[in-house]
Every structure is written in structure tokens, then in C-alpha cells.
Assembly symmetry: C2
Homo-oligomer: 425 residues x 2
């Protein structure tokens, strides 16, 4: 199966056939999938058997490109509650993507009142409340301020909540965990704007409000906003897409997605949370102890194996690359361990550079599958030492009333036919 590798190279580093991650960095870990051909193949002259696109001039230049028609099934999966109109989600197809960037057109959506069609010339951002001088900013004026760019994930606080179900849900990974995406965001550090308004000594909270029909709002601690939040104008190099907050989005690194308020129109500086729907009816959860979790802003470390994953099929006993994503709201991913025997043994995956804080990290692990049943898991550890928990540990701690912040280890079962299913194991 593999050439130019010693027996020692191919010695498993954990149960179920996991191989040393360093094999990915040297050539020779070969999957025998190429076909031998006669050397006459690929001769220069145009052959009538050549495919049609080699026999005539191709298509024209375009001012703005789109994916190949052959990729038309790689789309956001629209789901969730769509009543009332404009309330729902669309999921990023994580199983179809590679690297760490989510194309802006496939960034997940969560709206409560649809996508407002905002004219940037008329849009305003107001900072008021406990400030020396309330200020109003046009988009044009914000473009003049010093900017920063950061690669950051945004994850809905309700992402992966099907994990709380009694029975494991059977869906492609993107339709289960795809309310998370990662982009390069560029904008103005909020500290600069708050400083210009002049924060009163007694201020401690900020109510951020969007310009959608529901004027979605959320209360945020002032300290976090001063620390590392930004008012973003650009996503993945170009101006933010409408469904992601055009023309302005508050970006709160590592915190639940609702805090990164889209279509940002107002920052009301106060000395107390507003206790609106998004702090009471939602985002607050009863624990087995009888106490409630509230203001659970930070998204804990999490990881997923995107390939192989449910809906995909193994093609027989061979050497595979296990691929996945890991992220943490607390900072950088320190390591990702992978298991091919349901968690009995683990080995450390290769982390793709660059490894950035509050950003997707792509991990890769070589796996010699012997064609027998296996259970794959991945377990993320972040730079604070936080370790992604097994599902039973999370359920024990959070109880059966959980809805938000599901970040347990995910398990995929592979059977003899190479079919992959989601299991609780």
C-alpha cells in the first residue's frame, strides 16, 4: 500500500490503525488510487477523443466569479424555524470545505427578521448613554479610522444542539454542526470609538442593537468590548455580505454568535444589562442543581472530524487522511487528539499552520483502516488547558434541559461496508 516507508513508519501510534502524524509531512504515504497508464497518454497533438473543452475556446472573462456548475450542490442548508418569516438558520456545509476559510457565500446565517437591504449612505451607528459625548458615525466616516484584520470563527450559541437529543441525529456534519464559520474580518477596534465618545466612570455594560426589523439587541460587558471587539466593515477582503451584517457588524471574538450583532446601529453604554429577550427567554439555562447559567458568552473548545463523516462512504481498507476542524473561544488550539477505537486510545493530530486565536484550526491524521468496524473521535485542547468533554460528562454537568453551548466530543461509527453514522459512544 505504501512505498518508501519502513515498517516502523507504518507502526500504529494508537489503536485502530492511527499512524504518526509526521507521515503527512514526508512523501511516501501513498494511497494506491492512481491508475498506471501507457506512456503514449498525454501526447501533444489534439486527439478526437480529447474532452470537448480542449477542442474550442472556453468561456469569457467575468467581472465577478462564481463556483463551477458542477459544485451546485455545495450550498447552505436552509433549516430551522422559518415562522415567522425571516426567522431561521442556514448551515455551512462543513463536509464540503477544506482549509480554514469559509467562503462568504457559505457563511452560516441566523436571522430573526430577515436580511435588511441597507443603503450604506443612510446607515448610522450611534454610541450614547453613559458617555461624555454621544456620537453618530456614518459608514464613510468609519472607513477613515485605523483598522485591524483578524481571522476569527463565529459560532451560534445554539450550534450542535441536536447533540442533546436522546438519540444521535443522522445528518451530514454541516447540517448538525454547521452554525459555525470562519472569516478574515477587518474593521475599527471598538476601543477607539468608545474612547472618542468618552466612557463615564460608572459604565459597565453596553447594549448593542442591530438595524433589522426586530432591532435585535444584546447586553455585553464593556470590558470585553474595550478589550478586543471591533466594528467590522470587511469580510474575507471585500465589504461584508448583506446576510452577515452589511454594512457594519460588531465582532466579539470567541463569544456566542448573537453577540456579534449584525447591521450594527447602536451601542448604548449603561451600568446594567438590559435583560431583554436574549438574556432571559434565550441564552439562559437551568442546571440540574436548580441554578441557571446566564451570560455564558464564551464558546468552549470544540472539534469535529469533517472527513470521513456521515453521508460520505469509505472505499475499502486503505490509508486515509482523517480531516477536521477545531476552535476555541478562549484562544489558540493547543492540540487535537484523535481516536479510532472509540476513545480507548488517542494520538495527536497534525495542526495546519497558521494556528490563530479564536480561529478555525485544521487538523489532519493518517489512518490505516483495516476494513473492520471503528469509532472515530476527536478531542480539542486549547491553550488555557481546557479539554473538550465526552458527551456523558457534558450531559451530567448541564442536565437534560440543555439547548445552547453543546461542545461534546463527536463520535462517528464506521461499519464493514464503509458506511458512517453518528453514535453516542
Amino acid at each position: 500500500m505504501a512505498r518508501n516507508l519502513s515498517e516502523n513508519d507504518l507502526k500504529p501510534v494508537a489503536g485502530g490503525g492511527l499512524l504518526d502524524r509526521r507521515l503527512l509531512l514526508k512523501s511516501g504515504l501513498v494511497l494506491a488510487t492512481a491508475q498506471s497508464v501507457s506512456t503514449s497518454v498525454g501526447a501533444d497533438e489534439v486527439d478526437p477523443s480529447d474532452p470537448p473543452w480542449q477542442r474550442k475556446t472556453g468561456g469569457p472573462f467575468t467581472t465577478y466569479g462564481t463556483p463551477s456548475p458542477f459544485e451546485k450542490y455545495v450550498i447552505r442548508n436552509i433549516g430551522g424555524n422559518r415562522t415567522p418569516a425571516g426567522d431561521g438558520v442556514s448551515w455551512t456545509p462543513l463536509e464540503d470545505l477544506e482549509g480554514i476559510i469559509t467562503p462568504s457565500g457559505l457563511h452560516f446565517e441566523r436571522h430573526h427578521d430577515g436580511v435588511p437591504a441597507i443603503d450604506p449612505a443612510l446607515h448610522r451607528l450611534v454610541i450614547h448613554g453613559l458617555v461624555r459625548q454621544p456620537l453618530e458615525f456614518t459608514v464613510e466616516s468609519l472607513l477613515r479610522y485605523p483598522m485591524q484584520s483578524r481571522f476569527l470563527f463565529i459560532e451560534c450559541g445554539g450550534n450542535s444542539n441536536a447533540g442533546w437529543h436522546e438519540e444521535p441525529i443522522q445528518r451530514p456534519v454541516g447540517a448538525f454542526h454547521g452554525l459555525v464559520s470562519c472569516s478574515e474580518w477587518t474593521g475599527v477596534p471598538l476601543a477607539i470609538l468608545l474612547n472618542e465618545a468618552g466612557i463615564d466612570a460608572g459604565a459597565s455594560w453596553v447594549i448593542a442593537e442591530g438595524a433589522d426589523a426586530g432591532l435585535l439587541n444584546v447586553s455585553l460587558p464593556l470590558s470585553k468590548l474595550v478589550d478586543d471587539a471591533m466594528v467590522a466593515l470587511y469580510q474575507n477582503g471585500e465589504r461584508i455580505r448583506p446576510e452577515n451584517g452589511y454594512p457594519l457588524r460588531l465582532i466579539v471574538p470567541g463569544w456566542e454568535g448573537i453577540t456579534s450583532v449584525k447591521w450594527l446601529r447602536r451601542l448604548h453604554v449603561t451600568d446594567t444589562p438590559s435583560m431583554t429577550r436574549n438574556e432571559t427567554a434565550k441564552y439562559t439555562e437551568l442546571l440540574p442543581s436548580g441554578k441557571a447559567r446566564m451570560f455564558t458568552f464564551v464558546m468552549d473548545a470544540k472539534s469535529l472530524i469533517t472527513s470521513p463523516s456521515p453521508g460520505q462512504k469509505m472505499y475499502g481498507a486503505d490509508t486515509y487522511e482523517i480531516r477536521g476542524l477545531a476552535w476555541s473561544g478562549r484562544g489558540r488550539i493547543a492540540k487535537v487528539d484523535v481516536s479510532a477505537d472509540g476513545g480507548k486510545s488517542w494520538a495527536e493530530a497534525h495542526l495546519q499552520d497558521p494556528v490563530l486565536p479564536q480561529c478555525f484550526t485544521r487538523f489532519r491524521m493518517p489512518w490505516a483502516w483495516n476494513g473492520k468496524p471503528a469509532v472515530l473521535k476527536s478531542r480539542a485542547t486549547d491553550e488555557t488547558g481546557y479539554v473538550q468533554p465526552e458527551r456523558e460528562v457534558l450531559v451530567k454537568e448541564r442536565g437534560r434541559d440543555g439547548y445552547f453551548h453543546y461542545n461534546a466530543i463527536v463520535s462517528w461509527a464506521v461499519d464493514e461496508d464503509g458506511e458512517i453514522t453518528h453514535v453516542y459512544a
Copy 2:
């Protein structure tokens, strides 16, 4: 103009009002562009004077997003020779973008025979010639190999060639220097595929061929391909766009764009260059010495100020952020110096993290413009110590017959009215 900054903070670090780059990292470098407003602004109740998008539910969820209609002028600028059909270029609008990622829809194009509409199920990649065993790969088979992801720029060898003109061309920066773009590319390290075919001892070159109607080909040293080339399948997270090589593109980090052969169908391993049109009629240049430059693959270090830049307008004496891009085919950018007095004095710009090899690096510099005429320049230095040359130095070395590899320092003149023009200074 600026609050909470000392006189010392605002002391220029170079002529023409360049300020300490560290001011970008602390709040207080404020541009007085916000308007004071009464605290009644932004009250909760919906006001009839509210913009229309706050008065009704917005648009629906979409399976694949697109930019706001208000951004319809941010497009690739189609230009260059379009005779015969399919031969030409389209330029990335660098002046409209921020951060380091180029949206895939705006990645520059250079085609000789249009964009082939390739069916990935029928496409094949062949490796043959001086190999132990010629191999043919389907796209499906390549997806099974170990992959890597890298953030890399691709620059056309002919980018910026208007710089050789006797008179400075007056165009937006993207229509002058926009045959360069930067993406996250993911694919299979070519060393793995070449190793599987088994390279003969005498092999030293590879002829890479695309599947467009012209079967574009180029000769590449085997050593570079084994070192760091990849067969890419993904660009910015999703499968490569048709105009950028769908389904397969050879990526040769840091080398002139033509070497990153799109629609890759064939790698012919040889012991000599093929001396086709792309090594003889093109990409070879006569020097003043009478000698010719040939196989000048590496793209030298280069930088550009994207804001302010021609076509934009200053809005009066104030503090500005100078923004730009730098890159080098030899590795990382070590520093970017900026001048506001036509090169008499220089100060070091802030480099935005992450700074990656053969990748765009975004630089930023605070500038207190006094409203008087100024000449802005940027000068990149890469980790090998190579310094971007002044124009007269480049012309002296390369002569008047130059066409490719123009990487001289670019100068923008700002007049009292805040108009910006391209100058040779």
C-alpha cells in the same frame, strides 16, 4: 484632532507627518469625523423617520450569498488584449479590498483561450516521462491523498508592466497592479504524487500542461516542484473557481503566475526544458548588457499603498491611516518602510498578523497630513534581506525593453486639493 494622546505621541517619526506605528495599537488616535448627537437618538420605539429596512421583515435566506447591490462597482476590471477570443486579463480591484484575502470572485484572471467548462468526473491528471511508472489520477482519487493548506499570493509575471512606460500611467491601483491576488489554497503536495510515479535519476525538469484549448504549458525545474508545489483542489475553503483552474491547479509558491498552471492535466518529467512559446517568445528579456534574462521565476519583493491611492480623494488636513500590501516570492516580508516626503525620510509601518511566507502582508501607518503637497512611497524588505528598488535603479538594471517583473517602489503624489496621482519620483 486627537484625544488622550500626548504631544510626544503625535511627534512625527519621519518627514511629512508620519506618526509612530504603535499609535495604531493604542486607542486615542482619533480622526474627528463622528458627529455629536442628542442622546434622544436611538430610542427603542420604531419611528416613522426610521429607514425602510427597520419597518418590515427583510429578505429571505439564500443557499449561496452574493455582495450587496450597493457594492456592484467592486468588480474585476476586464482589460488587455482580447483578440483572439479568450486571450486577456481581468484585474483585482485592490483599492476596494482590505485584509489579505482576495475574494475568489475577484481573483485576477489571465487566460489565453478562455475558461474551459471542465467536468470533474471526466478530467484526468497524467504524470509521465522519466518516471518508473506513468500514472493517471482522477479528481476523486486526488481527494484521498494527504493535503496541506497554505495562504499564498499568485502574481502574473507581467503585473505592473505599465511601470516601464515613459510617462506614469493614471489608473486606480487595481487596474495598474491588480494582476496579483491572495487565497488559501488546499491540495496535495506534488512530492507525494511524483514519489508515487517514481522519478528517474536523470530527471531535472517537468513540463506542466493545462486542459484549456491551447494546452498552455510551461517548463519547471523538478527541484522546485518537489520542494513546495501542490496540486490544489480548494481555494478559500471551497473547490477552485472555473477561471482559477477548476478542478485542479498546480500551485508553485512565490513564482510568476503562469507557473501555477490552471486546469492541470499533465506533468511530463524530462531532463530539459521544452523551450515552448512561454520560455522563448515570452518570459525572456533582453538586458542592456546584451544578455537575456530567462527562467526568471521568482517574484521579487513588492509593496503598494492601496489607500490613499489614485482615484480616491483626501478630505482635508487630518490624521489618516495609510494602508497597503506587501509580498515576496522569496519568503516572509520582514518590514515595510513608508515615506511621505518622496523618499527623503522613511518610517517603519505596522505589519498586520499573521505574516506568512509567499503571502500578502497588510501594512498600516498613521499619517498626520498637513494639507500640503506630499509624495507617498512604500518600500518592502523580505526575510532574505532583498529590498524593493527605486524605479530608476530597476530601469538602469533592466533597460527599456522590460515587460515582466516590474517591482519598483510606487509613488503617489497628493496635492493641496487632496487629489492623488501616480508619479515617477
